[in-house]
Symmetry: C2
Subunit: 440 residues, 2 copies
């Protein structure tokens, strides 16, 4: 499927009037810096200008391309596929109006024409795809930053919202695919593909239901054995399942069966959209973590909240070794607490944070560090961020800087060094929990 | 306690060198627009300039003021209180170095001197207080916007972080108090005070432990009968309780007992810091909501997620009346789903949202509305925000606009009209759950 996510040429079919779907996709492809050939196609011909580049709109496709992105009226799609089939490898069908509104026959026809030419299809009724590391933004959704997350979404709107929110949350993406009605390729195919995609470090999947349970379980096992797979399953409740059925036509089936399958395959299930982001951020940094956590903080209350949450999630509050305690005692002020959570108190500076992290990190009883900073007025959050960046520690470190604008500079510095910030102690604790689920 | 939260005059004791605590507090008081008399005091005298205003530093306090804010070395505090006792009503003691580091005797002395003069004390070892509607920012913490939330925090750092994060989350505050060691006034006194404070619509409380359980239960009952009280209890786990003990010296006690007390009193307990904000935002808008929720959305996936979460939280997915369904059918396009969740599909505009909200709101089976918007590229989120603002509906409406930068304008418009946005379907669902806990 490299022709979808790393194409060397692409044709876009549809209306290129401003605001039309095909126009927006063309704009995204061009603005996103795609370096391959780009061919807009519309029987009416003409020209279109996007991002300062003028394109001749071809009346028909007359040369081979890797992928066609199709946003024309549904009833015209099968014959288009039949016409261009010999020239393309893959088709992304954005157009709606197929099985999701009862037009099963039209969808069958679409698939049949594609099969005849050996063309694979994403969609129909989808929001398109991104291959971020190939600068290919084949969707009207907001473009994202490069990184390690491949997002596979059954719901286009969920996917679009998640991309835009991912930008806010500092997530880097390797790819995005909204697969809509899954007439041909579906979640299982994408799981397998991204499992072997070297730019993808973590896969996130939003599903309402799957059609072929056995294929899905195999694909999930294959992928989860290679990299973290995070799943947000919608349609878990009775009313939710009913709503899903009317939305994607998914027979959501018993949630218990899904849940068992996720566990069996070693996937990581999250309960909320926000958790999907947090888990993705954690796995962009680390592939796993052990269960024994040390909390290092400059403020008691947040340290207690982190400790509560860690214990509640089944993680261990690491028992620091005598050697560690003695070493910490040797340089920390007497008011500091050298038990876990280690409380460096409010005036903790660069040196205190860095040395403490290094000593605690060397402790054999410690698998991961949760480092909290609530900057007091007389210290810059950047200084503490620098301590975290420069501390030499080969174990996972999860940061929780908090206090809105007061931590903005520190958080930005962390992010520039690939360290993602979790905005509350509880969200930081959950991040470690997800990492630990991969350490089996 | 009006002399604390609505003082007409204040004296600040400490060092007025740049960056020193007393200097920062003075700056906050002046910049915050306090209109009463402000008197900086330091035995060395001199002058200090903050925010373009020059002050003569008095060598001693020589006239009566409502409140003294004290940030001088701990050992000097009792004698200062004894000296100025006849001139003040309340003292906020920022200074640390009392019972929290084992100096119980010094703390007893402080209280005894204050009692002798009938002076009430907040602290010691605290971060200060805000009376936001009196423009009184008697703390070094970041200033906040006026609104309905009174935040009572045992932990200064938690309080400071919460204020700064509250600004980011669009929360408006009526007051803030960090009460530190609670040598004199404690959480119970503040609960009772804010229960009767007319600017306070909702009270949020961060506690690790309380000393007088009976007094606390009575105060909590009193307050919760008058307005929503949200509690975040830290030190719930074994390790958390141990950490709390070394932090505030709180004997956290059995969490089960606290939990029972919260329930019995009708307070709303939240599990995470983020939930404290979300619950506060919900209660700034509404005092309560019923259990039967209608979800209105323009995108299926997020609608399913909201439905899942609502059902999981024990809320009801309202069964719309036949009349409502018929009315919706009469003007909605046929692809829309008129069951709950009502799916207005991607091209829903102002008119479709507004009319749907009004029809659903009139349904007797509906107690509250959860309105989701994932703006497609061809619609502005402001248009949908306007529909929500202008729809005539007398039931609680909780909004979930999502897609990062794409919803920024819509979210800002909502907030300008006092409608707070919840950034994910699940957080919106939880907001309704908390509101419904007051509808007993």
């Amino acid at each position: 499927m490299d022709y979808f996510f790393y194409p060397s040429s692409v044709a876009v079919f549809g209306s290129f009037k401003k605001g039309a779907i095909a126009h927006e996709i063309l704009r995204n492809v061009v603005e996103g810096g795609f370096e391959g050939k780009i061919i807009p196609v519309n029987p009416k011909g003409g020209t279109v200008e996007v991002a300062g580049r003028a394109f001749q709109i071809r009346e028909r496709l007359d040369e081979a391309v890797d992928t066609a992105i199709i946003a024309i009226p549904a009833r015209l799609v099968p014959s288009l596929i039949d016409e261009i089939g010999p020239l393309i490898k893959g088709a992304v069908v954005i157009s709606a109006g197929f099985s999701e509104v009862g037009n099963e026959e039209l969808e069958r026809e679409l698939v049949e024409k594609a099969k005849r030419h050996g063309v694979r299809v994403i969609g129909p009724n989808c929001a398109g795809i991104f291959g971020v590391h190939g600068n290919f933004f084949g969707s009207f959704e907001v473009r994202v930053n490069p990184g390690g997350l491949a997002l596979i979404s059954q719901s286009g709107a969920f996917g679009g919202a998640a991309l835009a929110m991912g930008n806010d949350e500092g997530i880097g993406f390797s790819a995005f695919v909204s697969y809509g009605n899954a007439a041909d390729l579906n979640e299982s195919d994408f799981l397998e593909y991204f499992a072997d995609d070297e730019n993808t470090k973590v896969i996130a999947l939003y599903i309402e239901g799957v059609r072929d349970g056995r294929k899905f379980l195999n694909a999930l096992r294959y992928a989860a054995a290679r990299k973290p797979v995070i799943i947000l399953k919608a349609g878990k409740s009775k009313s939710g399942a009913r709503a899903a059925a009317s939305h994607t036509g998914s027979l959501a089936g018993s949630y218990e069966i899904y849940r068992a399958a996720f566990r069996q395959a070693g996937a990581i299930e999250v309960e909320e959209m926000e958790e999907l982001f947090d888990a993705a951020r954690a796995f962009e940094m680390y592939s796993k973590a052990g269960m024994r956590v040390a909390v290092i903080t400059n403020s008691g209350g947040p340290g207690v909240l982190a400790t509560d949450k860690l214990e509640r999630l089944g993680l261990e509050i690491a028992m620091l070794s005598e050697k560690t305690v003695d070493e910490l005692r040797s340089f920390l002020p007497p008011q500091c607490s050298v038990k876990n959570p280690v409380d460096l108190i409010a005036d903790a500076d660069y040196e205190r944070y860095r040395r403490t992290m290094e000593v605690v990190c060397r402790d054999e009883n410690v698998d991961a560090l949760l480092v909290i900073c609530v900057p007091p007025i007389f210290l810059s959050s950047e200084e503490i961020a620098r301590a975290i960046i420069e501390a030499s520690c080969d174990k996972p470190v999860i940061a929780n800087f908090m206090a809105g604008e007061l931590t903005r500079d520190g958080v930005e510095l962390l992010e520039r060094h690939g360290i993602k910030n979790f905005p509350t102690p509880e969200r930081a604790a959950k991040a470690i929990r997800w990492l630990s689920m991969r350490d089996l």
